[in-house]
């Protein structure tokens, strides 16, 4: 049907127009975003000299990597227990994964600010790690849990019947089959951290800001196309991370026949 395609096209135009305009303005010579368009890479050159944005970008990447490593470890362990063990209170524990995802970040962020201030944990990189990991863990549990569901438990049982201890069976059978999901979860956790603004906004210290926080304060001070340049890089970065994730998380269940 023609109508459906036209409508979907319109939705895509709506979704991508501002993003493409933002990207284009990063290549427009005018510092005031004035049209007509004149191609220039000036703002990318300026960006290379903008210590604030570069440091913030570097911070964001480091924070994303740390978050991915920690959250993937914690989340994978929890996913194993939640999906492979049966115990009382399991559904309650699964429910407790929802608040970090479902409660508006404004509430979580301000609560963290109060608690970290009150306990002396304070703000800065360590506070950001604590916050970002907590926001990413539920997603890791979800992604790894979905992967685990495609791996039949009788594979581990078969290994045990052949002489493997549960620990060996896990490392020899489940872990290799689960690896794509774990990698996908790590990429996802990285993306969650990279894109996080609200919680970072409350937990950043003057000496340690992430890229979105730096962009926000730059926007509030007044626009400059350098922000478009760095935003373009950020968008392309997280889009590629998510596209790679989508490849790993594709429902090509390991263990099932083609």
């Amino acid at each position: 049907m023609r109508l459906g395609h036209i409508f979907l096209g319109a939705v895509l135009v709506f979704l991508y127009t501002p993003i493409l305009v933002l990207m284009a303005m990063g290549f427009n010579a005018s510092p005031l975003y004035q049209l007509p368009f004149q191609f220039s890479t000036r703002w990318y050159g300026d960006l290379m000299g903008n210590e604030g944005l570069l440091t913030a970008g570097f911070n964001s990447i480091v924070l994303g990597v740390i978050t991915a490593l920690v959250a993937t470890t914690l989340g994978t362990l929890a996913a194993l227990a939640l999906n492979r063990h049966s115990f009382r209170g399991r559904s309650l524990l699964q429910l407790l994964l929802l608040p970090p995802i479902a409660i508006p970040w404004l509430i979580t962020g301000t609560a963290m600010l109060i608690f970290f201030f009150w306990t002396g944990i304070g703000r800065g990189m360590h506070a950001l790690v604590i916050g970002h990991v907590a926001l990413a863990v539920p997603y890791v549990v979800l992604v790894v849990g979905t992967g685990l569901k495609t791996i039949r438990t009788d594979l581990e049982e078969a290994a045990m019947s052949l002489g493997s201890t549960p620990v060996h069976a896990f490392f020899a059978v489940t872990l290799p089959l689960l690896f794509p999901s774990i990698l996908g979860a790590a990429l996802f956790a990285f993306a969650v951290s990279l894109d996080q603004f609200v919680v970072s906004y409350f937990l950043s210290s003057p000496g340690y800001v992430t890229l979105p926080v730096q962009i926000y304060s730059a926007i509030r001070k007044g626009f400059t196309p350098e922000i478009n340049a760095i935003s373009t890089l950020l968008l392309l970065g997280s889009m590629s991370v998510i596209l790679i994730f989508a490849r790993f998380a594709r429902p090509q269940s390991p263990g099932a026949s083609k």
């Binding site: 049907m1 109508l3 395609h5 409508f7 979907l8 939705v11 895509l12 979704l15 991508y16 127009t17 501002p18 993003i19 305009v21 933002l22 303005m25 975003y33 004035q34 914690l74 989340g75 362990l77 929890a78 227990a81 063990h85 407790l96 994964l97 608040p99 970090p100 479902a102 409660i103 508006p104 404004l106 509430i107 979580t108 301000t110 609560a111 963290m112 109060i114 608690f115 009150w118 916050g131 907590a134 863990v137 002489g163 493997s164 201890t165 549960p166 060996h168 990279l194 906004y201 979105p212 926000y216 926007i219 509030r220 935003s231 950020l234 968008l235 997280s238 889009m239 998510i242 596209l243």
Partner: protein, 309 residues
């Protein structure tokens, strides 16, 4: 007693069957509860430290008479929960926030439902997959940057105006207005609504629609009597997961609303970053949380079914 007819030596005699089991681990079982605890503890301890204790602390803070700084003694008070009575403008802001949430959700639901319907009915295979990825991709990019990008479009002499200048004069810019906020929020949450509706619609068997048509149902009847009721779980969970973050938003109203962009979210942010009245901020945050939890509780059945799908 090896069986001579067998190409494999027969099974080992009783009692010696295990002598060659040289696993690296002692053949002992770890108690189940210990393993479960060891696996769960790190993640849940972390969540407790980073989310649950902070929420509890915020609850306590919301009863303090002032931000506990320095030596001055603090007292407990219910004053901040009376803020809606004492400071009338808060009621207006809360109402505006709810109205903003309502419009965003409604527009997302209408656009999202029909986009999902178009995906399910008019596309297939690789085309559908590509379209889905394209629709969802922006959802997982930085929300702040996407909101910022709308300022490029909506500002005076921005992209929208330059399109307008092809046909008319003047400016149709509406940056720093409520519709601009709603537009930015719709942009943010539409992909999610499309996804939840898509998941609900894709499970509907074509035969159901054909059956309805064979019984003489027109397209409008099929839509209102079959598609919308069957897609309701997707619509509702999409609506809840749009409405909740929208009423807690502060960055979108700030950037796209400017001076008219006062919402509960921006008021809360102000208490923490400008006014430094943390107890008031905490009580407003907690009031918002209560609303959010009430919404989740109301729709928990639908949301659970959605999560299971």
């Amino acid at each position: 007693m090896p069986n001579e007819a067998s190409p494999l030596p027969g099974p080992q005699s009783p009692g010696t069957g295990l002598h060659d089991l040289r696993g690296p681990h002692s053949p002992r079982k770890i108690p189940g509860w210990a393993a479960t605890t060891a696996l769960l503890l790190p993640a849940y301890a972390w969540l407790t430290l980073a989310v649950f204790l902070p929420l509890a602390t915020m609850f306590v803070f919301s009863f303090l008479n002032k931000t506990p700084m320095g030596q001055a003694p603090v007292e407990f008070t219910l004053r901040h929960y009376r803020a809606f009575i004492d400071q009338g403008y808060l009621v207006r802001i809360a109402w505006n926030t709810l109205v903003m949430g309502f419009w965003t959700t409604l527009i997302c639901a209408v656009l999202g439902f029909f986009a999902a319907l178009a995906l399910v009915r008019c596309t297939a295979g690789r085309q559908r997959e590509t379209l889905l990825v394209l629709i969802l991709l922006p959802f997982w990019t930085n929300g702040l940057v996407r909101v910022f990008s709308w300022t490029m479009v909506l500002r005076e002499n921005g992209f929208l105006d330059s399109l307008w200048h092809l046909v008319g004069d003047g400016s149709i810019s509406f940056l720093y207005s409520r519709p601009a906020i709603v537009l930015g929020l719709v942009h943010g949450y539409l992909p999610y609504m499309i996804l939840t509706c898509y998941i609900a619609l894709i499970t509907i068997d074509d035969a159901v629609i054909e059956a309805a048509q064979s019984l003489g149902a027109r397209w409008g009847t099929v839509l209102t009597r079959i598609l919308i009721p069957l897609a309701a779980p997707g619509l509702i969970s999409g609506a809840v997961l749009t409405f909740v973050p929208v009423i807690g938003s502060f960055m979108e109203p700030r950037i796209l609303g400017g001076k008219v962009g006062m919402t509960l979210g921006t008021v809360i942010e102000d208490q923490f970053t400008q006014a430094f009245n943390w107890p008031l901020g905490a009580s407003l945050s907690f009031t918002l949380l209560a609303v959010v939890l009430a919404i989740f509780a109301t729709f928990s059945g639908v949301l659970k079914r959605g999560a299971a799908a």
